[in-house]
């Protein structure tokens, strides 16, 4: 068991931790866009969820209540987005951006008013946080080479939300591809007129898609503030919502490639943290900023080079107006 092996395991471990909110948000965006609603407000909904989770968890000293609050708040913002874009045919990008900016200001404002703290919520501890779980058998498996360390470092030791995410993602994929609701959802994103002609409400389908989108973003937000960190910090989503959107586009609006794209971005991020201050043979020390730029630069390069003209769901971004 060399040191390199352990390093790789730690890197994968970090990748999983960074990937969790990205995966949730990317799937949230996928559900929304497959129904024909572009949601650039993933960032804002996650941030709102993060604030709600941290605020409630701090007051009630319960991470689970925080999670519930995050989901409710995030779903409310999703409904607002649906109200603007589906009911009133508003510009979807503008609506998403409005939510992002509104939440970016609202979180710190309420933090000052409710807790008297500048842009943060009180530090969470004990039951207010989701902490890492040691899965059973990790000690029993420990002596076995390869499997033991992999199990201990990569599989075990994450918080419950990571495992919850791993369970939810296949369910969302099944929902989209193997249920009647999913079939209609995909249809309404491609050809809403056909769906309408079949006597199914376009608006109702899109509202339901947005609710699911809000649900997933809420979990992602709670993960950021009550599992990954111990409280809310101003702008703590730091562009993850946009990265998730990029991952979804790179994944061509399909579950498995989207997961791969999220893992790639998360790996770049994990590598970024690991590489700081490391002297590479032949190159010397890489400036911190070059490494920090990795995920963003990667996104631009991938979107420009590999996806090319990505085929979005046909009706994505276009408000549905009955019988023109």
């Amino acid at each position: 068991m060399g040191e390199t092996f352990l390093l790789i395991l730690l890197l994968i471990d970090a990748t999983v931790r960074v990937a969790t909110p990205l995966l949730l948000a990317a799937f949230a965006g996928m559900v929304a866009e497959r129904s024909g609603v572009v949601d650039i407000g993933l960032e804002g909904k996650m941030l709102a969820g993060a604030f709600a989770a941290a605020a409630v968890a701090a007051v009630a000293n319960s991470a689970w209540l925080g999670l519930g609050a995050a989901i409710v708040v995030s779903m409310s913002f999703a409904l607002l987005h649906a109200y603007a874009c589906v009911t009133h045919n508003g510009n979807q990008v503008v609506s998403g951006m409005a939510i992002n900016i509104l939440v970016a200001g609202l979180g710190p404002t309420l933090a000052v008013a409710w807790f008297g703290l500048n842009g943060i919520t009180p530090a969470l501890e004990g039951a207010g946080r989701f902490i890492g779980l040691n899965l059973p058998m990790s000690e029993w498996l420990a002596p076995i080479p390869l499997i033991g360390p992999v199990y201990a470092e990569v599989v075990s030791g994450h918080n419950i939300l990571v495992y919850l995410t791993i369970a939810i993602l296949p369910l969302v994929a099944l929902l989209i591809y193997r249920t009647r609701f999913g079939l209609r959802l995909r249809a309404v994103g491609e050809n809403p007129h056909a769906v309408d002609t079949a006597g199914i409400s376009v608006a109702a389908l899109r509202y339901r898609a947005m609710l699911l989108c809000g649900f997933l973003c809420g979990i992602a937000g709670a993960y950021l503030s009550t599992a990954h960190a111990a409280g809310f910090v101003r702008d703590m989503t730091a562009g993850k919502g946009y990265l998730a959107l990029a991952a979804m586009i790179f994944g061509k609006w399909k579950p498995v490639p989207t997961v791969a794209a999220c893992l790639l971005f998360a790996f770049a991020d994990a590598l970024q943290i690991r590489l700081q201050g490391v002297v590479l043979p032949g190159i010397g020390e890489i400036p911190v900023q070059v490494i920090q730029a990795l995920p963003y630069a990667l996104t631009v390069i991938l979107l420009a080079g590999f996806v090319g003209r990505a085929v979005a769901p046909k009706a994505s971004g276009i408000p549905y107006v009955k019988d023109k």
Partner: protein
């Protein structure tokens, strides 16, 4: 006249005003939530923005910055593009301004200003041209790429200020102070020379540059061939192509121009006020430009009025944060979000009832005339 038969003033003034009023009412609800009196807050805000000459100076200083970023968003909107990258383009524009001022700073300001403007527009324009090129040629959506370019700009500037451009022997990541000769005259200096005594504010000649820019944008969009091509592409890309216009070229032009305008923010902030390049000087004005453009209906005159409104909100808001401890400048960001929501995404919410009201009235009028 608009498609739904509304008088012009209703479409251009009444509906935006109603939307703005609702946004401000909701902001008042947030103030209540925070536990303060909205009426007192409003009074303090208006007083903070217009109460004295130097406060008006600050308001107009912020207005200047917002005219640039508002115009930037508006130009892109006319081509059907959403430029969320004003923040990054302004930062890179600042780099252009700093390079000009550091190398040629001994020139008198009337000579230096055009060069600095050129630097700001070239650098800012380039930072937006790349996403524009990627959209036109590779189909990568500007909404995502411009956001990524915001992050990349901040990181690039951080690197340059920490490693390359930092003032020798200093710890703070900022450039050396620009030579005094190139400093733009402040409004209070000019007024004092004319015999009017006012308190100091960062308002400077860039204010006039902003007004000029608004005029030129109007000329470009509505009186030039390129502007026509740009607006045609935004209105209907296929029809534009059928009419012999290259949408790709319009997209690249619109983005480059949009970035160049955002870059001009640096003339006001870096050259006009701080006299050195420092981190994060764009302070969210790139995003506020979205609210300004939406509120101003993407028209240069509207942008100037909306910029004045938001300039007053910024200045009044920071005075408010001084007066009331439970207030921070984040409250201004909340109001921005609400304005974007109601003037942008939810603009149709009151349009239907207003359209219905005016239809009814025009139907009644002929009958009254007959009676």
């Amino acid at each position: 006249m608009t498609g739904d038969g509304l008088p012009r003033w209703v479409d251009l003034a009444l509906i935006p005003l109603v939307n703005l009023l609702v946004a401000l009412l909701l902001a008042g609800v947030v103030v209540l939530l925070v536990g303060e009196n909205p009426w007192e807050a409003l009074k303090a805000l208006v007083w903070g923005a217009f109460g004295s000459w130097d406060q008006i100076g600050y308001t107009l200083f912020y207005t200047t910055s917002l005219v640039f970023t508002g115009l930037a968003v508006a130009v892109a909107f006319h081509c059907g593009l959403f430029n969320i990258g004003g923040e990054g383009q302004a930062l890179i524009g600042g780099l252009g301004v700093a390079l000009v001022c550091l190398t040629l700073g001994d020139l008198p300001w009337p000579l230096l200003l055009p060069l600095a403007i050129l630097g700001a527009m070239l650098f800012g324009g380039f930072w937006a041209f790349v996403p524009g090129y990627l959209q036109a040629e590779r189909g990568s959506h500007t909404v995502i790429t411009t956001i990524m370019f915001n992050f990349l700009a901040a990181i690039l500037l951080n690197y340059l200020l920490v490693e390359v451009l930092i003032e020798p022997g200093q710890q703070v990541p900022q450039t050396a102070r620009f030579p005094d000769a190139g400093h733009l005259p402040y409004a209070h200096e000019v007024l004092r020379a004319l015999g009017v005594r006012t308190g100091p504010s960062p308002l400077n000649v860039t204010f006039l540059v902003a007004l000029l820019a608004a005029g030129l944008v109007w000329l470009f969009l509505w009186r030039s061939r390129w502007g026509y091509e740009l607006r045609s592409t935004g209105a209907n890309e296929q029809a534009a192509r059928y009419g012999g216009i290259s949408p790709g070229r319009s997209i690249m032009l619109a983005m480059a121009l949009s970035g160049a305008l955002a870059g001009l923010l640096a003339i006001n902030e870096v050259m006009g006020s701080q006299h050195r390049l420092m981190l994060g000087f764009s302070a969210g004005f790139g995003f506020t430009g979205i609210a300004v453009a939406l509120m101003g209906r993407n028209h240069p005159v509207g942008v100037i009025l909306a910029a004045l409104l938001f300039g007053a909100l910024y200045q009044g808001g920071s005075e408010l944060a001084f007066e009331i401890p439970t207030f921070t400048s984040d409250m201004v960001v909340v109001i921005q979000g609400l304005v974007i929501l109601f003037c942008g995404a939810l603009e149709n919410i009151f349009r239907r009832p207003i359209v219905a009201f005016f239809r009814q009235r025009t139907r009644e009028t002929p009958q009254e005339a007959a009676a």
